[in-house]
Every structure is written in structure tokens, then in C-alpha cells.
């Protein structure tokens, strides 16, 4: 089973290498997401001459974060920078996923339109294997981009933010977000897109429906920024658990929805 998934995954990645333009929106989105917190926490205070810790609007956050274990030892400006960089972590994870949604959405539709699906279905590959390879084909580049962006994020904070902010980002919560919640959310969104891709004629439909998975995380981001929710290790693990269940359910649903017969008959 793994061999067939890897075989088709190698095709997906080779296809991407030959057509890197498909991934340009994801790179641009990641670069934008990467730049945004630096703009807010470093560039704006530098340009206006007003420190974030001096802003009345952020006093509550300063007080809240100064007492957190991971900001202990930071000065008020460092604490508020750590707050900003923590909040944007979720966006850092979802940016590449949202952008790579288009390749996931096009994955099955593209095969249908190019009439390459029928020879593929004539091989011993199972529906689960085929869909797994399609999801991974979009997921692996998105994951690599996320990790690359995270490394750049850490390097950027080490170089530009107040001393100690870099270490404040390496908490259990943030690492759980980056290495567990993020990939699982990405997997769910891309699975949804591939799942819909096998049922519709238009990649845009698949993309839009896939994006629904991202909406709760956008809400979580807003809740975090407003202080309504504080991401604890327990909460991030609970989210990760929920996403795992969602992923398993989506895989099952995708296999059920992928009707070989109607795909072959409708697409001539």
C-alpha cells in the first residue's frame, strides 16, 4: 500500500517541480504572513517612535504576558513582542495551507480533465491509496513551507526582536501548534478539498469548501488576539485530538464519495 502511495506521490511532486508556478501563491502568502508580525512588532514602533509597551491599548496584554512563565525575565517591550509573535503563529501555520488549497482542489479534477484518471484507475491502486497520495501531494509542500516559514520566523525574532523573545516562542504550546495542530488542520483542509474535487467539475468549488476548515482557526486567532482565549498546552492538545478524529472521518468520507464509476462515466 505504502509503495503505491509513494509512487503516486512521487508523480505529484515531480509535477509540482515541473510547474513551480502553482506554488508561487503559497510562497507569497507565507512571505506576507511572515512579514506581518515583524511589521506590527518591530517596524511600526520603530517608524512611529512609540513602543508597543507604551500603548494604552496593549496594557492588559502586557500585564497578562509579564506574568506568564515563558515571558519571565523579559522587559515590557519584550513581553508585548512575545505576545504579538505568539498570536501570529496560528496564521503562520494556516497561510501556506490556504494557499496550497488550490493544488489540492485541482488534484482530482485535473486528472479528470486531462483524462489521466482512467489509466490510473486501471492499476491495482485502491481509492484510499489514490486519495492519500493526492492529499499528501498538496500537504508535503505546504508542510515544508510552514516549517521553512517557522524557521525564518525564529531566525527573524532572534535577529530583530528584543533579547529573549526568540526563546519565549519555543514553548510547548507554540511547538504543539506548529508541529501538531497546524499539520493536522492542513491535512483536514486539504482532505476536504480533495474530497470535494472528486465530486465536482470546478476546482473553485472544491477550494471554497476546503476553506471552511480554516474558518474555525481564523476565529481562534481572533479570540486569541482579543484575549478571549489563551492557548494552553491542554487546549492545543484537545484541538489536535479533535483534528485527528476529523481527519480519520474525512478519509473515510472521501473514500465513500469517490465513486469510480460516475467519475469514469461523467468525464468522457
Amino acid at each position: 500500500m505504502i509503495r503505491r502511495v509513494l509512487a503516486l506521490l512521487s508523480k505529484e511532486l515531480a509535477d509540482l517541480r515541473r510547474n513551480p508556478g502553482v506554488f508561487v501563491p503559497a510562497v507569497i502568502t507565507s512571505a506576507g504572513v511572515l512579514a506581518l508580525p515583524f511589521f506590527v512588532a518591530i517596524v511600526v514602533p520603530y517608524a512611529t517612535g512609540e513602543r508597543l509597551s507604551e500603548s494604552g491599548d496593549l496594557q492588559v496584554a502586557v500585564e497578562m504576558f509579564e506574568t506568564q512563565p515563558w515571558t519571565r525575565g523579559l522587559d515590557p517591550e519584550g513581553a508585548i513582542q512575545a505576545f504579538v509573535f505568539q498570536q501570529f503563529l496560528m496564521l503562520l501555520v494556516l497561510g501556506p495551507v490556504a494557499a496550497s488549497m488550490s493544488s489540492a482542489a485541482f488534484s482530482v479534477i485535473g486528472e479528470k480533465q486531462a483524462r489521466t484518471l482512467e489509466p490510473l484507475l486501471a492499476t491495482p491502486i485502491s481509492t484510499t491509496e489514490l486519495l492519500a497520495a493526492k492529499v499528501l501531494g498538496a500537504f508535503v509542500p505546504a508542510l515544508l513551507l510552514t516549517l521553512g516559514t517557522f524557521v525564518a520566523y525564529l531566525v527573524g525574532t532572534a535577529a530583530l526582536a528584543r533579547p529573549g523573545v526568540f526563546r519565549a516562542l519555543l514553548t510547548a504550546e507554540s511547538l504543539t501548534v506548529i508541529f501538531l495542530v497546524g499539520p493536522l488542520a492542513a491535512l483536514a483542509a486539504l482532505q476536504m478539498a480533495v474530497c470535494v474535487s472528486s465530486r465536482v467539475n470546478d476546482a473553485r468549488s472544491a477550494q471554497q469548501i476546503g476553506a471552511i476548515v480554516i474558518l474555525p482557526f481564523a476565529g481562534l486567532l481572533v479570540a486569541q488576539v482579543t484575549g478571549a482565549v489563551v492557548l494552553t498546552t491542554g487546549l492545543t492538545l484537545a484541538i489536535a485530538g479533535g483534528l485527528l478524529v476529523l481527519n480519520l472521518g474525512l478519509l473515510r468520507l472521501a473514500v465513500v464519495l469517490f465513486d469510480r464509476e460516475s467519475i469514469l462515466i461523467r468525464w468522457r
Binding site: 508523480k11 509535477d15 483524462r115 484518471l117 482512467e118 484507475l121 462515466i265
Partner: protein, 309 residues
């Protein structure tokens, strides 16, 4: 002897429309069976059922005597090579990459060696590094054929293998198909090209939702047209038509100086006896030949007036 592949009462409907109705035939090793029929006759649907891509509503497919079920379809596909109507190559990938992915999907032990062998066999070794998009239609078809046969299947199903190809490319593909049968594989071709059928097929199955006929081209010709003899005379052939009809000769046709008759079942059982009768009646015979109806005539006779709809 167990057939390599058998259709047993295959039936498939899409909604209210019955695409294939109670179709049964066998495909033996080393033979090439041509599945012919008008557009919408159910040829591709039959092919897909045989390839394990879609399940019949009724009836079954047997591969080597074993029924193919949804549980065994994946394993069955290892023994079947399917050439689809469209080559279906991944355009951005090279020819080699296209074949390598399939070699790995079929679980071949040495995929690179299998691909090298296929590239050499199908005369595309020099195009291995080219993107599939750069290939001509004929070359694309050869790559698709190479892909369908990478895993050395015992049964080969070909859907319109020479459709849209120039005569030279079509000829090369036909040579490859001929080789497949010579190697002992069971080959089934879906095609509209009756000339191709005449050149390649051991037997013909005529389909129009139901199976109308299955036999060798010779047997179909004999059954539908009999042993027809064409006689060219020096004078008007119509003068002798009455004489032959009276003598019990079937289906006497005349056109100018040409007389065409069916001897089977008539009182005149042989060509020399026919010639003798004509000469005795004063005819001057210039040429006598056994008339072979074209496969198109046979096909039209079998499918009837609704052909081509």
C-alpha cells in the same frame, strides 16, 4: 481449455438507459478479438467492466476461470493491460517518469529496468527524457501502449488503439498488437476501423447493446453472404440471370457484364458446374473469381439499418 477472459451475461444500465445487455463471449490466449459496433453500442462500457473499472449490474467477468468481484478487482487489474481511448499521459512529466510511476504502481521489482525494456521495445528510448506534451499523437499512443504492458499482462484490452493516427503510426501500433497475440496474450480491441479488424482480428464480436454475432471473419462472411462467385462475361449478364434462377442458384445479381451468384445450397454446387452451364447457354466467360464481401458489408448486414446512429 479455460479462456483467459470471459464475459458471462454482462449487463449494465446507466439510469433508465441499458448500455450493455446480457453480453457473453470468451477471449482465448493467443487470439485477437475485435469488439465492433456503432457509437453508443456499449463497447467502452464492456471494456471497462472487463478491466474491473466498473461493476456489472448483472453477469460476471471471469479471469482465468475465476470470477472478478469488487474484492478481487484490484488483483485482477494486475493481470490486465488496458489502453484507454485517450493516451492519458501526464504532460509535464517525461516519458520515463510517466512509465516509472506506473511500474511502481504495479509493484514491479525492478521498475527502472522494466521501463528501459519498454522504451526499447516500443522504439521510444530516445524520447525517454522528453516531456509527454512534446510527443506526436503516434508517439503518445506508443507510450500509452508501453504503459499498458509494463507489467506483462496476460490479457490486453485496447480501446481504439489507432484512432486519429496517421497511416505509418497506425501501422506501427498494429505491428505491436500483432506481436502481443503472437506472444500468447489474449487481446481484445474495441474499434470502428474495420480494415484494422480485417488485418488483426482472429474473431469479431459485433455489439449493439446486445451481442449480435461472434465468429471469425471468414465464418461471418460465409454465414451472411454465402460462397459468392463473380463471373465476368463478354456480353450482357442479365441474359443469363433467368436461366440460373430457374436452375436453383440463389441471390443472382447482375451489373453490366458482371454476374454474381451464391452457390451454397443451390443445385449447382461448384464453380466449374456454373461455368459449364453458362458456356452451354452460349455465354463467353472472360473471368471467374470467388467474391469476398468486405468486412464493412458483413458489419452492416449484422448491425442492420440503425448502424451509425
Amino acid at each position: 481449455m479455460t479462456p483467459a477472459l470471459a464475459a458471462r451475461g454482462l449487463t449494465k444500465a446507466f439510469g433508465a438507459r441499458v448500455a450493455v445487455d446480457d453480453v457473453s463471449f470468451e477471449l482465448r490466449r493467443g487470439e485477437t478479438l475485435a469488439l465492433v459496433g456503432p457509437n453508443g453500442a456499449g463497447k467502452t462500457t464492456t471494456l471497462r467492466m472487463l478491466a474491473g473499472l466498473i461493476a456489472p449490474d448483472a453477469g460476471r467477468v471471469e479471469l482465468g476461470g475465476q470470477a472478478v468481484t469488487p474484492l478481487t478487482a484490484s488483483a485482477a487489474r494486475r493481470q490486465i493491460g488496458l489502453l484507454t481511448e485517450a493516451p492519458g499521459l501526464w504532460d509535464r512529466l517525461t516519458v520515463r517518469q510517466n512509465l516509472t510511476v506506473y511500474a511502481r504502481l504495479y509493484g514491479l521489482q525492478a521498475p527502472d529496468m522494466a521501463v528501459d525494456a519498454a522504451l526499447a521495445r516500443y522504439g521510444i528510448a530516445d524520447r525517454g527524457q522528453d516531456a509527454a506534451a512534446q510527443l506526436s499523437k503516434g508517439l503518445r499512443q506508443r507510450v500509452a501502449l508501453a504503459r499498458a504492458l509494463l507489467h506483462d499482462p496476460s490479457v490486453v484490452l485496447l480501446d481504439e488503439p489507432t484512432s486519429g493516427l496517421d497511416p505509418e503510426s497506425a501501422g506501427r501500433v498494429r505491428e505491436l498488437v500483432r506481436d502481443l497475440a503472437a506472444e500468447g496474450r489474449a487481446v481484445l480491441i474495441c474499434t470502428h476501423n474495420l480494415d484494422e479488424v480485417d488485418r488483426l482480428a482472429t474473431r469479431i464480436a459485433v455489439l449493439r447493446t446486445r451481442l449480435l454475432a461472434v465468429d471469425t471473419p471468414q465464418a461471418l462472411r460465409a454465414r451472411l453472404f454465402g460462397a459468392r462467385v463473380r463471373v465476368v462475361l463478354a456480353d450482357d449478364a442479365a441474359r443469363y440471370a433467368g436461366l440460373l434462377t430457374t436452375a436453383g442458384v440463389r441471390d443472382v445479381r447482375t451489373e453490366g457484364t458482371v454476374l454474381s451468384v451464391v452457390l451454397d445450397g443451390s443445385t449447382i454446387g461448384s464453380t466449374p458446374a456454373l461455368v459449364q452451364m453458362l458456356v452451354e447457354a452460349g455465354a463467353r466467360v472472360e473471368e471467374v473469381a470467388r467474391e469476398t464481401p468486405s468486412l464493412e458489408q458483413v458489419y452492416l448486414q449484422v448491425v442492420g439499418p440503425r448502424s451509425g446512429t
